[in-house]
């Protein structure tokens, strides 16, 4: 059974999505991440989608769900590396990804997680 690997970095989790995921794989990732957040009491989850040239409503929903579940467990979710074409398409689709913070890359994502949320 194939799974997307989750990297543990202290109290942060990093997921790099590089394959075109079929729905089952995405749901498995959602479950695995939620389990890991709980297991290590993570305070942040970084999802790197710089390798994705498509994000449709299913994946978008998955990301929002992860952020929602993470939030319940007091962890923040940062989405990094979104490609321009994907960003434009998501805006057109009307997918807003509530509860998800964003950063240009993993480094900036980690920097973001070091500052309190909603710092101007």
């Amino acid at each position: 059974m194939d799974r997307i690997p989750i990297l543990k970095m202290g109290d942060l989790l990093l997921v790099t999505i590089q394959v075109d995921m079929h729905d089952q794989l995405a749901l498995r990732l959602q479950d695995d991440l939620t389990e890991q957040i709980r297991a290590i009491s993570a305070r942040g989850v970084l999802i790197d989608i710089s390798g994705l040239d498509i994000v449709d409503s299913f994946i978008g929903r998955m990301i929002s769900t992860i952020a929602g579940l993470a939030s319940i467990m007091d962890a923040r979710t940062v989405l990094v590396g979104m490609q321009p074409a994907v960003a434009i398409t998501l805006v057109e689709l009307g997918l807003t990804l509530p509860g998800v913070e964003t950063a240009l890359d993993v480094d900036r994502g980690m920097r973001l997680l070091r500052t309190p949320r909603d710092t101007p």
Binding site: M82, P84, L97, T102, L104
Partner: protein, 285 residues
């Protein structure tokens, strides 16, 4: 130009199946259908379509002038066909031979039809020849023109892509927008801004609209979409050059800028961007 008589057109319609079969056989002989790039069924469908359009056009008062309105559909079909084949790597001659291979089956048909009327036979053979030759010539001409149009369009796109996205500071890009923001051009320009944000890893983009005379709902919506996309990517945008009239328009139109910061001029926007980066300047007295 001689016209196709009603009796000829009726015969074409009546013997359509045999005519198409004969035409397809000619195309086969030319090797036109055996090419792997084209689907046999597609060609047959296209022969049927062309014959139908031709008969419909020739059945009107204007049947002697292929430039007339009656032949618009025929011309359009041929232009599309010629361009389609061009995209697949064929040349103009290919589509021309598509047309010319219809001659022999048509000649055979009128020979049978006007067996006992030499004058009618001659006029119809002449009419067929003139019509198909004119259409073949038209195809070759428009093929040339479409080649030139493609080159012109590519040149224009290259120009658009050389948009003035300026790096003002580490992590701060500026895009001065000039003139009316008509949809097509604006989209291309905004997309290249997003691309540059990723390439340079800049967290702030300043979109300067000083050079934009009016901001209407469409323009505002477009700016809003661009800023939303920028934020999804992990950066942020400041809109500068918002003159009082524009500010009024925005309020008047009831547009919700959703927390996008606007500044009256580029300098103020830059100051804010630098502040966000944690950069400060000191004057040496």
């Amino acid at each position: 130009m001689a016209a196709l008589q009603q009796s000829t057109l009726d015969a074409i319609r009546a013997e359509e199946a045999e005519l198409l079969a004969s035409w397809s056989a000619n195309l086969d002989a030319l090797g036109a259908t055996r090419d792997v790039r084209i689907n046999q069924q597609v060609v047959q469908q296209q022969t049927r379509q062309f014959l139908g359009l031709l008969v419909a056009a020739a059945n009107t008062a204007d049947a002697t002038d292929i430039g007339a309105a009656a032949f618009a559909d025929v011309r359009r079909f041929l232009e599309d066909l010629s361009r389609s084949r061009a995209q697949q790597g064929f040349d103009a001659q290919h589509t021309a031979s598509f047309i010319f291979s219809l001659k022999r089956p048509l000649f055979a048909l009128v020979q049978r039809l006007y067996r006992s009327d030499a004058e009618a036979l001659a006029s119809q053979v002449w009419a067929i020849t003139e019509l198909l030759d004119a259409l073949g010539l038209h195809t070759v001409r428009t093929f040339q023109k479409s080649r030139e149009d493609i080159i012109a369009r590519q040149q224009e796109e290259l120009l658009e892509l050389s948009t003035p996205v300026v790096k003002l500071w580490d992590g701060v890009l500026a895009l001065p927008m000039i003139g009316t923001l008509d949809s097509q051009r604006t989209q291309v320009v905004m997309e290249s801004l997003l691309q540059r944000i990723v390439e340079t890893g800049s967290e702030t983009a300043i979109i300067d609209i000083t050079g934009v005379p009016t901001v209407d709902t469409l323009v505002a919506q477009h700016l809003l979409k661009t800023v939303t996309a920028i934020r999804l990517m992990g950066a942020d945008a400041i809109i500068s050059g918002v003159r009082p009239q524009i500010a009024q328009t925005i309020v008047h139109l009831g547009l919700d800028l959703q927390g996008i910061v606007t500044k009256a001029n580029l300098a103020d926007a830059l100051a804010l961007a630098l502040k966000r980066q944690g950069v400060s300047f000191e004057r040496k007295s």
